[in-house]
């Protein structure tokens, strides 16, 4: 009986702590969204409220009346994220397939190489990258933020770990006997096998690219090329200093697409994080 009582107390503690943390996760975003609908005067009187007000259109007018252009940021971010994710997925799968399906001399050396470089972040080589891009007059070209995704060592590693136990060489062999070329086998047979891994990696690659601030901040100086995170950073500037409602609305606009996508795909995302944990 004593054990039972102790169990109950532990359970209550668990639920209280978890619920508190869950509220802590959501509350900042709730305050942000509610304040997006309130006027600056209302916010100045009480900066925290859970009751929406009716100033959202007004805030929107002030917001877009200055340099903040959410639609441009959204489109640029979309182009970069979709482009780099597609390239990363396709070429990482291809490189991983080369690792798993073929027996070539440098295979293991190449894999060790991938394992070492995958931890090194792009940030520490940004000065050289910027100078290189500057020299060929390609700053402000979105392609410079997309093409590097062809070489994504961490994703190659993940894809290889997935493909190794999943791919059966018998299927590949029988396709060869049917006369299919190697490239066709990869596109028609191997890519469909990799769908679950591609889906997981697609989400993470997309989100990482969407949220990236550092590289676009260094390369893009033209306002028309700004991505969402750079747009967001404009809200910190002096021009919005006293327009609290508009700033909250601007922040909300950048976050809303992410929250919606997250809530729709959360099941896969959580499963993906779990899988990524042992990806090494």
């Amino acid at each position: 009986m004593l054990k039972n009582k102790e169990n109950r107390i532990i359970k209550i503690i668990i639920y209280v702590v978890c619920t508190f943390l869950a509220i802590l996760s959501v509350l900042p975003f709730v305050i942000m969204i509610v304040n997006a609908t309130r006027s600056t005067t209302e916010i100045q009187q009480h900066a925290i409220s859970l009751i929406p007000s009716g100033y959202i259109m007004n805030n929107f007018k002030i917001l877009v009346g200055k340099s903040f252009n959410p639609l441009v940021g959204f489109m640029n971010s979309l182009i970069i994220s979709v482009g780099s994710t597609a390239l990363a997925l396709y070429f990482s799968s291809l490189t991983a397939y080369a690792q798993v399906a073929y027996n070539w001399k440098l295979r293991n050396a190449f894999f060790s190489f991938i394992m070492i470089v995958m931890m090194i972040p792009a940030q520490v080589t940004m000065i050289g990258f910027y100078q290189m891009v500057y020299k060929i007059h390609m700053t402000n070209h979105l392609s410079m933020l997309i093409l590097p995704a062809i070489a994504s060592p961490a994703m190659v590693f993940f894809m290889r770990q997935y493909l190794q136990p999943t791919l059966s060489m018998e299927i590949v062999q029988s396709a060869r006997i049917d006369g299919a070329g190697e490239f066709k086998i990869f596109n028609r047979i191997v890519l469909p096998i990799m769908k679950p891994a591609i889906a997981t990696q697609a989400i993470f690659s997309f989100v990482a690219s969407w949220n990236n601030l550092f590289t676009p901040l260094v390369l893009l100086t033209d306002q028309k090329k700004y991505t969402m995170p750079i747009m967001v950073s404009l809200l910190k500037g002096d021009i919005y200093k006293t327009e609290y409602g508009s700033v909250y609305l601007g922040l909300t606009l950048t976050v809303l697409p992410l929250i919606i996508v997250y809530l729709l795909l959360s099941k896969y995302i959580i499963a993906g994080v779990a899988l990524g944990g042992v990806k090494g």
């Binding site: 668990i14 943390l21 925290i48 944990g277 090494g280």
Partner: protein, 331 residues
């Protein structure tokens, strides 16, 4: 690894062919910039719009010496390590506690799916947005935090909270922990679920309590995952940029200046000292490369077999989950 099928070597050339796009992109966009960054570190390259390089003739290591001797780089390095360490400790503690709770068969926490979704959510939101949101929360005179402090009588009048170094650092640390503990927790849960259930059963039969089970079974079995989390978090922490930049831009008084921010400021503001920034980058590059290769050797030798097994189990569970998920619809 050995070939699975005889006569396999006929196709070996495709291994090279299919790796070509990766290699070309890597050479162009990773290796060349790395080498170029290293070279710039030995030159006099500075000034907006400059790109021709001349090697230093007097003292080739001048930039490296200048960076290492610079008080703001030293401060930035110290900040980076402190900010990372103080966020990692509560993060790993919280993640371990929650993971132990969620996997405990005796407690059977209900609504785990919903909790996981909510606790992980901050991780997916743009860090830039979060930084500005929090700097708004701590605004003076009328940010939400001041509103609460005054309303509940903790302060008589609004405080200029962000003037304080401790508050600014504390908020950056809080944001980092808040954004990452959910991710670490899910990683650890998946690791704990990979431990054979028989071990837990026999521990229970032997009368071990929750705390003993945790310290003698769970913890030793997730060592590899803990190490992995430590290393990825450390490397991420050494590159912390978005939050310190957009929260208070390194301030007040350089208290949240990180090395990444130092590098950015050197290269893209003031007198555009690309050479100094490149030298600082290379110092960070070497530190990270050392950490990464340590990780590589540990993972490769000691735990490779174990890790492989775990990955396979996880993948099976994951595929099963995806299949099951399509029918039930809950996480």
């Amino acid at each position: 690894m050995k070939s699975k099928i005889p006569g396999y070597d006929r196709y070996a050339k495709y291994g090279y062919i299919f790796s070509i796009p990766f290699v070309i992109a890597f050479l162009l966009f990773s290796l060349y910039p790395t080498v170029y960054t290293a070279l710039i570190g030995f030159t006099d390259l500075k000034g907006l719009g400059m790109s021709s390089i001349h090697f230093l003739s007097d003292d080739i290591f001048k930039n490296f010496k200048a960076v290492l001797a610079s008080p703001s780089f030293q401060q930035a390095f110290k900040n980076t390590v402190v900010l990372w360490l103080l966020n990692f400790i509560p993060q790993i503690f919280l993640a371990l506690l929650l993971a132990a709770w969620f996997t405990d068969k005796r407690s059977k926490v209900k609504g785990q799916g919903a909790y996981k979704v909510l606790l992980y959510m901050p991780n997916i939101i743009t860090a830039a947005t979060i930084a500005i949101l929090f700097s708004g929360f701590f605004g003076y005179p009328m940010g939400p935090v001041n509103d609460l402090l005054v309303r509940f009588g903790f302060a008589e009048k609004p405080l200029e909270l962000l003037r304080s170094k401790t508050v600014a650092r504390g908020v950056v640390i809080f944001i980092q922990t808040w954004m990452w503990y959910g991710s670490t927790m899910i990683t650890l849960i998946s690791g704990i679920l990979g431990i054979s259930p028989e071990i837990y059963e026999s521990a229970e039969v032997d009368g071990s309590n929750r705390v003993q089970t945790f310290f003698y079974i769970t913890l030793p079995n997730v060592k590899t995952i803990l190490l992995f989390t430590l290393v990825t978090s450390l490397i991420g922490g050494l590159n912390m940029f978005d939050i310190p930049r957009l929260f208070q831009n390194g301030g007040p008084d350089n208290s949240t200046l990180t090395t990444s921010l130092f590098i950015y400021n050197q290269a893209f503001s003031g007198s555009y000292m690309y050479n100094r920034a490149a030298a600082a980058s290379m110092i960070m590059f070497v530190i990270i490369a050392i950490i990464a290769s340590m990780m590589f050797f540990v993972m490769r030798d000691k735990d490779e077999a174990k890790l492989r097994k775990q990955i396979r189990q996880q993948q099976k569970a994951y595929i099963k989950k995806l299949k099951a998920g399509k029918e039930s619809g809950s996480c």
